[in-house]
Symmetry: C2
Subunit: 430 residues, 2 copies
């Protein structure tokens, strides 16, 4: 392996500085990160974690300025909470980087191969993508998560965070770049285009040849924009209109516990349930208790007429509710005649993230698992389990709701591609 040496840091503002020049530097740096040994990557990530802890005060100060601006602009408590970095959260960020460093290196793994009849030896090996781009919103932890995951999988990263977290992100990227340089790796492997505003995101979406894969993380509208506008390959993540179906055989305690857990344990994330479909034969038996437990936790229920007969506190659901990702303490609830109607509702409104059925009927469970076309299909478990950490992948890049390349929670291997190596001794094709 050649030694990778740090380039002198390029001054932040020169005349020719542009999103393109930064992406070009990332592309060049990617040739070096692709050849880092596992040991080299681990030392880089530990240097980043150490630097985050050592410079936590800088991060918190910059974050304070973001928070103050956010409060002035009334961005709301939920967003402010996602934006906030205190000492504990910075420590958690550093710990997450160390967790990534502990994950097995996917690069170089032989995933297939055989000898052709003529003797040519074929081998399919994991290789980094090259440059991973991320476009995301208010959470500054994504800045560090994506950079660490990209690096451990041998990639360079180009980051575009939301303007709400701009000062936090600038400091975090600076810390990570300094940490790379301190262990002899070019800091150009981590780039931000935050300071170019929307033009930075636009440049990334059209950077064919410079960015190998683009991961949008955030609201449905952000993801939609990136998917529609981008000419670079995109891994679509996240939006979750998640359903739970209460079958006629659904045990009451599982129904109540799973629905409450899936809605309330962390309502602001994509794997939280948004719609509960109850089979008519179970409605009278389960709906009053499930609804009472939800209301007890402060959840507003948007119900159809059948639900409202059983739950007087429910407000009337409109067509729009079935397609809504509330990301808060609200839930849509509907009675369906049978499993066919539940499956048809899911086909129509699901975003293909996660659906779960609560049932003890083996045939109906298997039908649900087979027919629902979502990244994760569950029986008798909380939809909150759709998560890279819970699935055992360490930190996660996002949850893919598309079918190409990766589906469901993505780990390190999903940030790599493969290439075929062929070793011959003069063979030609007949």
């Amino acid at each position: 392996m050649p030694t990778v040496t740090a380039d002198p840091a390029v001054p932040a503002s020169t005349v020719e500085d542009s999103p393109e020049t930064r992406m070009r530097r990332a592309k060049e740096a990617a040739r070096d990160t692709a050849r880092l040994t596992s040991d080299g990557k681990v030392s880089a990530l530990h240097a980043i974690a150490d630097a985050l802890v050592a410079r936590a005060a800088d991060v918190i100060a910059a974050n304070g300025r973001d928070l103050a601006r956010g409060a002035e602009q009334n961005i709301g408590d939920a967003l402010l909470d996602r934006l906030r970095l205190d000492e504990k959260r910075v420590a958690a960020l550093a710990a997450a980087v160390r967790d990534v460093a502990a994950l097995p290196d996917p690069v170089g793994r032989v995933v297939g191969g055989h000898r052709m009849p003529n003797g040519v030896a074929l081998e399919q090996v994991r290789v980094p993508f090259g440059v991973v781009g991320a476009i995301y919103e208010a959470r500054p932890n994504v800045t560090v998560d994506i950079a660490a995951l990209a690096l451990q999988s041998g990639n360079a990263a180009v980051l575009r965070g939301g303007s709400a977290a701009r000062e936090s992100n600038t400091v975090l990227v600076g810390i990570m770049r300094d940490a790379l340089a301190s262990v002899g790796i070019t800091p150009e492997a981590i780039q931000t285009v935050d300071d170019f505003g929307r033009a930075g995101a636009t440049a990334m979406m059209h950077a064919r040849g410079l960015i190998d894969v683009l991961v949008p993380r955030g609201s449905a509208s952000l993801i939609e924009t990136v998917v529609t506008e981008s000419t670079v390959p995109v891994i679509e993540t996240g939006a979750g209109v998640v359903h739970i179906v209460l079958d006629e055989s659904a045990p009451l305690d599982w129904s109540r516990d799973i629905v409450v857990n899936a809605k309330v344990q962390r309502p602001s994330v994509c794997n939280a349930v948004e719609t509960v479909l109850v089979l008519r034969a179970a409605a009278e038996r389960v709906v009053p208790d499930v609804a009472a437990a939800l209301i007890d936790q402060g959840v507003t229920i948007h119900g159809d007429e059948d639900i409202r007969r059983l739950v007087p506190a429910a407000v009337a659901a409109t067509e729009e509710d079935w397609a809504t990702e509330y990301l808060g303490l609200e839930l849509a609830m509907r009675v369906v005649d049978d499993l066919d109607e539940a499956l048809a509702h899911i086909r129509r409104y699901s975003t293909g993230h996660t659906e779960s059925i609560i049932s003890t009927d083996a045939l109906r469970i298997e039908r649900f698992l087979a027919e629902v076309d979502s990244a994760v299909v569950m029986a008798n478990a909380s939809t909150r389990f759709t998560d890279g950490g819970e699935f055992g992948f360490g930190a996660e890049v996002g949850i893919s709701t598309q079918k190409l390349h990766a589906r469901g929670p993505m780990g390190l291997a999903e940030l790599t591609s493969t290439k075929w190596l062929a070793r011959g001794a003069g063979q030609t094709r007949a």
Copy 2:
């Protein structure tokens, strides 16, 4: 498994007939094809193969009309050859369908899984994409190839072939749809939008939610258009500015045999070599013989000054030649100072398809294999081996030159996605 029944064929022209309605029918049919058993798929493919043979005369007659129109329009001998279907080629098409039927069914294969610490059983299984779209040019065999591959991987197919092959494609699609109906599978699983002209292709490229993955096959400009315009996920295939590097240790016989084979054996395809880079230390020893063998086969050599000193018959190469996919009996040839310069040339001009080095130096071979960022990187073998058949995948969907989802020759598994199944017993997240 539910029985899949054939819908009555929908009349070809009704008032509301449009690319959208056909894609919608494919999407509905995909729910049925996804649940076909392996036995069901095999019998469908054999019915298609039998029907192609039985109705070969219809195919050849329609193809004759396409050929006559093509000749009138002077589309050229190479295109006419790609377009031509005679009895032998129809038989080969049918045989290719039977070969696909003999491939292992990828659907339902468990590719991963484990039990979560809380007892939830996780299983990752292969599932069809749903609807595979293909946009391609003059070769009518692609119509049958893609439909067969889509079906064997549980998908429905929406096809858009080139206008040059329109009559052939119409008959081929009709035969395949009839064959599906004859074994009780909905014919809506195979759709063409050829009769809508460009509007059909445009509709496919924007059919998010109806087409799950789009595969363009054909010229670089067709692929570029689809990649740039499409909002549906695309698997980029094909364009090949393919390089062979003759190292200073390159044996003369391997150099000559491999370069000639890679250029001449079938010049019109993407894995044919387009540029040969010769290390200066080998140039005098190998260039005259390699060039003579090429010229003997009718190849025009576009050389830089160093090449032209050694090969008087060579014409002067321009900057444009290094980026050209000739797809014919032409070849660009350049002398480079060392392996670094060869690698830099490849970084600049390669389309990431296939590159090969001819060398006996182990360190230099390994450096080439590690540093060249292409789908297939070879040592001492003809680039013509980059092919699904040669790689043992049976018929191929195309050769992916991108890094997402699939890279290199694609087989049946590349036409599937995965989903996660989670089976619990009331677990909630702490």
